[in-house]
């Protein structure tokens, strides 16, 4: 027997759960504002999530998927992107979308059941939320291939969950990205659960990062509750991709602190004790400890931030609630570039039906 190949998977963390550095912080973190901006984005997202859940609970919005406890993953990833890069989120990356310039009112509109919520006024090339789990990974490969063909130094960043890593599409996309060394970074938000299915029933693989090995691309693990680590590790992967060195899979280890969505009741299938323990590792408290320990963050600043976030979110909610529905015939408006004749008849019929 001879050895044909060997592989290792690394894990990166900068701050421990108490906010204490475990190693020298990366270069970007030398700018205190860079770190504070990450903190602010996480607090805004948590404020937004809480409000969105309450809109659903009070019947003013549809089902919603909160990112409680996992804010560091999409935010760390999005913060590492350039404006001209393309973000392909799953359905739990509102923090990253907001950072990319998607308006909170748009996100509410989407979950409120209005297609205009995906017509982002900000990042025009970013993909809308992807509900069919993992099916956007091939899109990310396609977007990256477009960049490659045009010789552009742009990167596609695709985020999906631990459950998504069981989908053939995700594997096929990573494998293809490997063949062409595409400028794409796949981020697996390993929040330990896919609705009621725990990570251990999803795969026997010790890490999700090692899924990359099958695709012949680098895979690495990061502490997904350490936003500095996420920003740094995803950032290097992005810059590697931008430099033509190909794709990476980053597994971010975090935890879903709440129900899967507002339609779910996690108490049916998991212990409160497990959840309580995980509260000790969550990303916002961790970074706040670091910032206050290092004298970069005061109680007053915290209060101001909370006030500011609440105001921003309230503004978005007001805008969302004030947006009237589209006319019923809007369902025909963007079906094709030009509405084909047989469809025009159906549209006329609908118009007739809804005529006051």
């Amino acid at each position: 027997m001879t050895q044909a190949a060997s592989f290792t998977i690394e894990h990166t963390r900068f701050l421990d759960p108490q906010g204490r550095p475990t190693q020298a912080l990366p270069d970007f973190a030398e700018d205190p504002m860079a770190v504070i901006d990450l903190y602010k984005a996480m607090v805004l997202t948590r404020t937004f999530d809480a409000k969105a859940v309450s809109l659903q609970r009070t019947g003013r919005m549809g089902t919603y998927a909160s990112s409680l406890g996992q804010e560091a993953v999409p935010i760390g990833a999005a913060a590492a992107m350039r404006a001209e890069d393309v973000f392909l989120p799953s359905f739990r990356e509102q923090g990253g979308q907001i950072l990319r310039g998607v308006r909170m009112a748009e996100i509410l509109l989407y979950w409120g059941g209005d297609e205009r919520g995906s017509d982002f006024t900000g990042p025009r090339e970013d993909f809308p939320i992807c509900v069919p789990v993992g099916t956007h990974a091939p899109h990310a490969a396609g977007v990256a291939r477009a960049f490659q063909l045009r010789g552009q130094a742009r990167v596609a960043v695709c985020v999906f969950g631990d459950g998504a890593t069981s989908r053939g599409d995700v594997y096929e996309a990573m494998n293809f990205a490997g063949v062409h060394r595409l400028p794409v970074v796949f981020v697996a938000n390993n929040n330990q659960w896919a609705i009621s299915v725990p990570r251990t029933r999803q795969t026997a693989a010790e890490t999700l990062a090692q899924k990359a090995i099958a695709a012949g691309i680098p895979g690495t693990q990061v502490d997904g509750n350490d936003v500095i680590a996420v920003r740094q590790v995803v950032g290097s992967a992005i810059e590697q991709a931008r430099a033509g060195e190909g794709p990476t899979l980053v597994e971010a280890l975090t935890y879903r602190l709440t129900d899967h969505t507002t339609a779910d009741d996690a108490s049916r299938y998991r212990d409160d004790a497990e959840v309580s323990a995980r509260w000790k590792e969550e990303p916002i408290a961790r970074l706040r400890l670091y910032l206050s320990d290092t004298g970069q963050w005061t109680k007053a600043e915290e209060e101001a931030l909370i006030g500011d976030c609440t105001a921003q979110v309230e503004g978005a909610v007001a805008e969302y609630l004030a947006t009237p529905a589209m006319p019923p015939t809007a369902m025909f408006d963007h079906l094709y570039a030009v509405l084909p004749a047989p469809l025009a008849e159906q549209r006329a019929e609908l118009e007739e039906v809804v005529k006051p």
Binding site: G62, T63, Y110, W111, G112, G113, D114, E115, I129, V131, P132, V133, G134, G163, A164, S166, R167, G168, A194, I195, S196, V197, R201, Q202, T203, A263, D264, R268, Y269, A325, M326, P328, A330, M331, F332, L335, P342, L343, Q346, R347, L350, V353, V354
Partner: protein
């Protein structure tokens, strides 16, 4: 015997089938301790154990193929897809394997499997959670497509589907998952497959529907009755193979027919029914066969979904047009 919902009837049929036949297995995402996102498998894992009630990884293409392997080995897997919007990766296995295995091996290997999925709109669900794509399955050789329209029919037809030795796609109209309720005896009695059910008799017009649309159609029929028009309402129930005989004999009496379904009109199962009438029912038709359906658009997000779905009002408009022909 108390009144139960359609989703409870599904669960009751699953439990019954599992109790009477140990080769019956349930698998899918969150069917175990969570009991399915709609609770269609509630309590099954504690009663029958994790071997027989299995949470699968998030791999939709896989489960259908897994069921082919289990079926070939003599098990009767019942696979849950969480929503019809996530069933498409299974089509490859259904078309290329499940529907063919018996035929291609001349009966040596078979596929006694059931694929269950909630489908249809009307509950303000998120994107991809409200589609009605039953026609994609109703065209595939070697399988059956069954849709219940009430708790009793959910129980009886699901039992029949599970006991059937061939693959069945069993689609559950989630709009009527929780209401109306109905008394259903847990007596293990299956209902016949491959047969329409005439759920209301009438001499003036035949209304053909299935799933949640039966409810709307019956409401419309009552409105018509108040106006002196007696509509016969047929619940197709098994969409493939299609029992045209019952529909033809009804139209032979009424001379008029309207078809109601949620799916997009073009290429929906309504087309096959109308085609059957244009062929073997033509001599009896006193009026055009018209369809009240979803539009050929993408199912809109919740704010506009009610405009997409056939409503009592849209059904009445069409039936009145069909009745108006001299």
């Amino acid at each position: 015997m108390s009144e139960i919902t359609l989703v409870e009837a599904v669960c009751m049929a699953l439990a019954r089938a599992m109790a009477e036949d140990e080769t019956v297995l349930v698998l899918g995402e969150d069917v175990g301790i969570d009991g399915g996102v709609f609770r269609a498998t509630d309590g099954l894992i504690s009663r029958f154990g994790a071997d027989r009630v299995m949470d699968t990884p998030l791999s939709e293409s896989l489960f259908a193929g897994l069921a082919v392997g289990l079926g070939a080995q003599g098990f009767r897997p019942v696979v849950e897809y969480q929503f019809m919007g996530f069933i498409y990766p299974a089509i490859d296995q259904i078309v290329n394997h499940a529907g063919r295995l018996r035929n291609r091996t001349r009966g040596r290997l078979t596929c006694p499997m059931v694929i269950r999925a909630p489908y249809g709109g009307g509950i303000h669900a998120p994107e991809h959670h409200s589609e009605s794509m039953e026609a994609l399955f109703a065209h595939v050789p070697g399988i059956r497509v069954v849709i219940p329209s009430s708790p009793a029919r959910a129980y009886g037809l699901l039992l029949a589907a599970i006991r059937d030795p061939d693959p069945v796609v069993f689609l559950e109209p989630k709009r009527i998952y929780r209401a109306p309720k109905e008394e259903v005896a847990d007596d293990g009695a299956a209902m016949p497959l491959d047969q329409c059910f005439t759920v209301r008799e009438g001499r003036d017009v035949t209304l053909v529907a299935w799933g949640a649309m039966i409810v709307e159609t019956l409401v419309a029929a009552e409105t018509l009755a108040a106006e002196g028009v007696e509509a016969e309402v047929i619940d197709v129930a098994t969409l493939k193979p299609l029992d045209m005989a019952t529909i033809l004999s009804s139209v032979e009496r009424t001379g008029r027919c309207a078809i109601v379904h949620e799916a997009p009109q073009s290429g929906g199962v309504g087309a096959e029914i109308a085609a059957g009438l244009a062929d073997r029912g033509l001599v009896n038709l006193l009026a055009p066969v018209q369809r009240v359906t979803g539009y050929d658009t993408v199912m809109p997000l919740p704010r506009l979904e009610t405009y997409y779905m056939p409503t009592e009002e849209r059904i009445l408009r069409t039936v009145r047009r069909v009745l108006a022909y001299a």
